[in-house]
């Protein structure tokens, strides 16, 4: 019913507008075309100026309205660089934006038709054209220079001490794999994937390196202050690991692993405090269209203190054990790591953290 009502109102509105428009045509015939033209021209000239003034106020107002909702402090070192680059770009383009828009609408208003005004015959001026070729070129050189400087820093090789985590996208979720104590990922082959047997990545058990690999869907645990290198895979279609708080992003392409690295600056707990939001989580969003569940393909990153990380890791069962439950009764060497090695690992992590 309300739909019908809305359609009726719309139609009525249309008819009213149309009748007014038609009447205005008759009025213009009565008034004389020239007079109508001059009136319309004045109105539109004024509106152009008003649009510019209100528009610039609107831009400022929009910024005030939203600046608290975007770009909280970047939570990674790369994120800081990206934010710096962003502010440089906003400054340069902002100046150009304001100047050119003001000129456009001001000229439109100022040089609107006036009886007897002669337009200035001005077909070209090489000097002017050179100036506005060179100035943008210089501005862009600055932007390219800064941009590439940061780009190579961000996409350069990960530091050697970086933790390595593998993340694999699938319709519609994320699988995380840790290399385990040996720090080596076991081999895998996609045709071995068997979800019934809990081998969701297709790990090859013949490769002993796979036996201590930890595979989980729960969350990606990262150590605060320690660089992490992600090896990114996809099991089916193209996905994308989007980490808005870290300002990082990389596609997950089936058959072609990609990588990214960064250093998280704040733990999840610290971010809860910083943002004042007790429900805060670092979320992984899929940023590449991947099917009907794309909008819900969420992962969680837990950034924790080194000790908490070790504790969490120690509690994880390896995928090998999960897939072969009969092994659990036996003394499973790869799983229950001896206490002393855990301590060494912890020392390693805190050690690299402090430098």
């Amino acid at each position: 019913m309300s739909t019908l009502l809305i359609i009726a109102i719309l139609l009525l509105g249309f008819i009213v507008v149309f009748q007014i428009a038609k009447a205005s045509e008759y009025v213009s015939v009565l008034k004389g075309e020239k007079k109508t033209f001059e009136q319309n021209n004045k109105i539109n000239g004024f509106l152009l100026l008003a649009f510019m003034i209100l528009g610039l106020i609107g831009v400022y107002w929009c910024n005030e309205l939203f600046k608290g909702k975007i770009l909280g402090e970047a939570a990674s070192d790369h994120g800081e660089k990206i934010d710096t680059m962003l502010y440089i770009t906003i400054a340069i383009t902002g100046i150009v934006f304001v100047i050119t828009q003001i000129l456009l609408f001001w000229f439109s208003f100022k040089y609107q038709y006036k009886e007897g005004r002669k337009a200035f015959y001005y077909p070209h001026n090489n000097k002017l054209e050179v100036i506005w070729t060179v100035i943008p070129a210089i501005a862009l050189t600055v932007l390219v220079g800064f941009g590439l400087y940061y780009w190579f820093k961000i996409t350069g090789d990960a530091p050697k001490e970086a933790n390595v985590v593998e993340i694999t996208g699938k319709q519609f979720g994320w699988i995380y794999r840790y290399p385990g104590k040996d720090k080596v990922f076991g081999k895998k082959y996609y045709k071995n994937i068997d979800e019934g047997k809990l081998n969701q990545l297709g790990l090859i058990w013949d490769d002993k390196a796979s036996h201590d690999d930890v595979v989980t869907n729960e969350a990606m645990y990262l150590v605060v202050g320690k660089p992490v290198k992600l090896i990114i895979n996809s099991r089916d279609v193209v996905h994308d690991v989007g980490l808005a708080h870290f300002r990082m992003k990389m596609d997950a392409v089936p058959g072609t692993p990609t990588t990214m690295w960064f250093t998280p600056k704040y733990t999840t707990a610290q971010m809860k405090e910083k943002t004042g939001n007790p429900d805060f989580e670092y979320e992984i969003s899929c940023d590449q269209m991947c099917g009907k569940g794309h909008y819900s393909m969420k992962g969680i990153v837990k950034v924790v203190e080194p000790a908490e990380y070790l504790l969490w890791l120690a509690k994880q069962k390896s995928n090998y054990v999960m897939s072969n439950p009969e092994l659990e009764s036996r003394p499973a060497v790869p799983v229950a790591a001896p206490a002393d090695s855990t301590v060494t690992a912890a020392a390693n992590i805190t050690g690299s953290n402090s430098n």
Partner: protein, 610 residues
């Protein structure tokens, strides 16, 4: 002369009576309804066919956006009327995710290809090239007709994909494989995807037939005296557009054919290492590269955005110059910058792929080349500004849309500097920032350029004017609405809000924009309603608009205004006029304008060596 031609005012109306024939040129055959309105070989009629088909597509494509904006703005409400229209796709009055993605995919495909490529280039290339270079018709009127009918068939097939049981293509307008290659990965990748690919293949044929015709007409069929540097900028723009199309569309076609092979012939061009959860099966394909498709796609996809924007740059230049009563500033720089844009268009495609795992070193070159495009773009903007400077501006609807175009082109162009910079693209890629950027710079701007052209050349097309009051309402609401819709999206993008999400309620990071999303949706609906007002004005004015009574209503210099008010097939009665000067002698030597056909007199000031 003009009184004589007034007798033939009926041409624009849909009557079957025989058109006026002119004894002086060779079109003596009888025209029937079929040859005149359906299988017409007259470039003007073909232009109108493209235009009206484009308008129908634009309404459909716009309606899609209204539907998905309903979901985005009001994710918790139900709209029972949607179920009445869409059936199972909106079960319970809520748009289902599959259909949401089908809507966005079709919105993109329709607007980018069917409206802003065929509807725009098809209309203005066909209409203006022969009229402005001084030719009786296209180099091959028959090929021209075929071009439209390939477009028509492509349209029918694309439309039909909306009605198949598994729905139309839904992998995004870029249809990246493997998603688009595997029916088991998505409903939309079943028969809907095949129809999409077939329609697009036919569309490519349409584009090639058209573009080859445009190029050969411009190169070979200019009238006496019409040297390349005397052509209006519209023609230069349409020329570069056609060249871009000829060089890039075949690459897209090759990408589509490989995709069809992967879908049906068991090849592995794009497929490798895939295990589908829906079937719990690993596919046999190994060794393919999903990224290969993206290279092939964007090798067209990037030039495509210039295929969309270049024609409007040309139209706007001419409309602006005529209504500023002043020559376009820096004609050669305008041509040069369009040439630069056309060349660079082929060297920047991988800036869509900075985060695909592309080698960062290679990425650096694409950053450099991409940001380089800002230089010719800046030249164009400054030249337009200088064209307005010290003019005597008449705010006709065409002129207002031209000014709006420049404003939007500045706004959207500047955000391109963000996205072309790979460092920023890491954060902004595939967020609302991208949506805001390309909608402003090639969506809305291109529409503004197209509206400028339509309002300006409507009198030439139909011998009548459109209603001014409706046009002004159309302009102001569209301009304000466009900024209200897309400006705030930049902020969503900076917050990292991803594209192609139909519901943010499950996200802690992206759920802070509920109010904004609702606001944008409401404005979208209003702007869409105003476009319907334009459509109404368009069709009403074809039949009932105020009649054009003078041959050259805008006081313009270019050749199309030397034809009769309602030109027949062949355009000019008698000889095609000879051209003696460039198209921009406005305000020269104290004269309001000097048509291109007027010989240069002995005491004229020397600037116009063009």
């Amino acid at each position: 002369m003009s009184q004589e031609v007034n007798l033939n005012d009926q041409v624009g109306a849909m009557t079957t009576h025989e058109v006026h024939h002119d004894e002086h040129h060779g079109h003596h055959h009888k025209e029937t309804f079929i040859t005149k309105y359906v299988f017409s070989q007259d470039h003007k009629m073909i232009a109108k066919q493209f235009l009206i088909t484009g308008i129908i597509w634009a309404i459909i494509g716009g309606l899609f956006s209204v539907m998905f904006r309903l979901q985005l703005g009001f994710p918790n409400e139900t709209f029972p009327f949607l179920e009445n229209i869409l059936g199972k796709w909106a079960a319970g009055g809520k748009i289902q995710p599959e259909f949401y993605y089908a809507l966005t995919t079709m919105h993109g495909t329709v607007l980018v290809f069917f409206v802003l490529t065929a509807g725009l280039s098809g209309t203005f290339s066909n209409f203006l090239i022969p009229l402005q270079v001084g030719a009786r018709d296209m180099a091959s009127p028959f090929m021209n007709m075929l071009s439209y009918w390939f477009f028509f068939v492509a349209s029918i097939i694309m439309i039909s994909s909306l009605f198949v049981q598994t729905g139309p293509a839904s992998g995004g307008w870029t249809v990246y494989p493997p998603l688009s290659a595997l029916g088991d990965a998505s409903e939309g990748s079943k028969i809907g995807m095949d129809l999409w690919l077939i329609a697009m293949a036919l569309f490519v044929v349409n584009s090639l037939l058209g573009s080859l015709n445009y190029i050969s007409t411009i190169l070979n069929m200019r009238t006496k005296g019409m040297s390349m540097t005397r052509m209006p900028l519209t023609i230069w723009a349409l020329f570069f557009t056609a060249v871009l199309g000829v060089l890039s569309f075949p690459v897209l076609l090759s990408g589509f054919i490989l995709l069809l092979f992967d879908r049906h012939a068991g090849t592995s061009f794009y497929l490798s290492d895939i295990f589908l959860a829906s079937t719990q099966k690993a596919l046999p394909n190994e060794g393919g590269s999903a990224i290969l498709y993206q290279h092939l796609f964007w090798f067209l996809g990037h030039p495509e955005v210039y295929i969309i924007i270049l024609p409007t740059m040309g139209l706007v230049s001419d409309v602006m110059s005529a209504n500023a009563r002043k020559p376009i500033f820096g004609y050669m720089a305008m041509v040069g910058s369009m040439f630069a844009i056309a060349v660079l268009a082929f060297l920047v495609w991988a800036h869509h792929m900075f985060v695909t795992g592309l080698n960062p070193f290679l990425g650096a070159f694409f950053v450099l080349l991409t940001l380089l495009i800002a230089v010719p773009s800046a030249i164009k903007v400054f030249n337009w500004l200088t064209t307005l400077w010290r003019g005597n501006l008449r705010f006709t609807p065409g002129m207002l849309f031209s000014i709006g175009f420049v404003s939007l082109f500045i706004s959207g162009g500047l955000t391109g500097i963000f996205l072309g910079n790979s460092t920023l693209d890491i954060h902004l890629h595939d967020t609302y920032f991208v949506i805001a950027h390309f909608h402003i710079v090639m969506g809305v701007s291109a529409f503004f350029g197209m509206f400028a052209g339509l309002y300006h050349w409507f009198p030439k097309m139909y011998g009548r004017y459109m209603n001014n009051t409706l046009a002004y309402i159309h302009f102001w609401i569209t301009l304000v609405g466009a900024y209200l819709i897309f400006w705030p999206m930049h902020y969503q993008g900076l917050a990292g809000v991803p594209r192609r999400y139909l519901d943010f309620s499950g996200w802690e990071s992206f759920n802070q924009f509920d109010g904004l999303n609702r606001f944008i949706s409401i404005v979208t609906i209003m702007v869409f309603a105003v476009q319907l007002l334009f459509v109404f004005n368009f069709f009403y004015s074809i039949f009932k608009g105020r009649r054009v009574t003078t041959q050259n209503p805008w006081g313009a210099t270019s050749l199309e205004w030397t034809t009769p008010i309602n030109p027949g097939h062949g355009n000019w009665e008698g000889e095609i006029p000879e051209v003696h000067r460039w198209a921009y002698d406005y305000g020269k030597d104290g004269r309001d304008f000097i048509p291109q056909t007027e010989p240069i007199s002995a005491n004229e000031s020397p600037e116009s060596k063009h």
